[in-house]
Symmetry: C2
Subunit: 235 residues, 2 copies
DNA sequence: TCAAAAGTGTTTGTACTACACCCATGC
DNA sequence: GCATGGGTGTAGTACAAACACTTTTGA
């Protein structure tokens, strides 16, 4: 009888603690050679075996969500220092066919292609994929990606996140190209330069970038003395 | 032995499914007589017994998060049709002293004071409380409230959520006062009127509001033909 | 010296700000 | 008729948009 009672207590506890699994999914944007890409993983296992999905994984009880994101990205990219921001929680009842999973999506920015991608055991393949040629994605990951891109486009207009995608020192044409890639439209070169400099958001380093074919452009750096929360710019 | 085996399986399942509890907490804004308020509940039980907190509750397995919000608000206010938007997920490890609870916060807007508040069994008291005189709040609810207010203030500048707080027909002075309450600053009456009308965001009904002491102001209504996602206004 | 990309200033238009007087109503 | 709040227009300013030529460099 004692074991039945223990079973009963366990069942009760089980029921009480029965909760959805919590996962994170990450839209990791990278920028390289005038292309905005996201990191995709080809799944080895069901569901969605052989389909491309966003990197993601399950929360552990002793982790915060951000820590989960960083652990997963470290496993897959080797990179640990990057900009991450919470995006939205996706909670449709059957978004994962296995069981109830609530996914809290994050998006991140990385100066991509610096680090070798690591192929984990649960994946067939991992790659950077241009946002202009995305394959069909598993789960509701296309929806998550679309929201992330919208958020990134909105945010870059009034918050200096773009710099997370460039090196410590960069040229104005590089910054300009980055903005055009993210926003997917052309921006007047002269006005762009003027706004960036007037906001004293970037500072000249006095150096020039060499090794290029034509005129050597000036190098700038991010002005870290500006409070990004009070940064105000209209591209 | 059979019961031990069952116990073992159960324990394994328990472990596998051990996940944080998921709750929602709701910052419900109401507006009445030139005051912006939020709905607060005085807890009867530990933790934070006798302290004021945001309305909230635990997700059930068969519910979406929005359904959880609506169930909770229906229990406490009797009101079911209201504007709700996901705000942020709060996941600090010990934000709830009982166990790991991840709270997905929502904020909502209600044409308040229409509906009688319902005192549930787990509460000592429930009330609308002016945002200018908030008591200390339990859990991390002050942080949640602050984020909600910031979001509301940001959003009202470019999205027509303010109308959710007014009746179907309203006067321009009422709308003006609502914006001033939410933003907590004065706005030029003439410019405000001009912008609202130029955006054809509100439409004259041809009627006037009577029963007032002085000149009877014109009544307007929300222009539902405008796609709120393309609504653009700068207050 | 030529081709390609980087650097620079001015003009024009639009949109926000600031501001003061008349009108309708109830008492 | 008077006190109170509602309705209306204009002038000034600031910022964003549009736009073309000169400079630097490698080949």
């Amino acid at each position: 009888m004692r074991s039945f009672y223990a079973l009963y207590r366990m069942a009760k506890a089980f029921h009480q603690y029965k909760n959805p699994s919590i996962s994170v999914d990450i839209v990791l944007f990278g920028y390289h050679e005038s292309r905005l890409s996201i990191l995709l993983i080809n799944r080895k296992e069901e569901p969605y075996a052989d389909r491309w999905t966003l990197p993601g994984g399950f929360l552990r009880m002793e982790e915060t969500l951000l820590q989960t994101c960083r652990r997963i990205l470290k496993e897959k990219t080797g990179f640990s220092k990057l900009y991450l921001e919470q995006l939205f929680s996706f909670d449709a009842l059957h978004r994962d066919p296995r069981r109830r999973v609530i996914s809290i999506a994050y998006y991140g920015l990385i100066n991509s292609f610096y680090y070798q991608l690591v192929l984990s055991k649960i994946a067939n393949d991992i790659k950077w994929c241009s946002v202009h040629h995305l394959p069909p994605l598993g789960f509701d990951h296309r929806e998550i990606y679309k929201l992330a891109l919208r958020r990134l486009r909105d945010k870059i207009l009034y918050f200096p996140i773009g710099f997370e995608l460039l090196h410590g020192e960069f040229t104005l044409p590089e910054l300009h190209d980055l903005y055009e890639c993210i926003l997917d439209r052309t921006l007047d070169r002269r006005n762009f330069r003027k706004k960036m400099l007037d906001a004293s958001y970037i500072l000249p380093t006095g150096k020039k970038k060499s090794g290029l074919q034509h005129r050597h452009p000036d190098l700038y750096k991010f002005n870290r003395d500006i409070d990004p929360h009070h940064f105000k710019i209209n591209i």
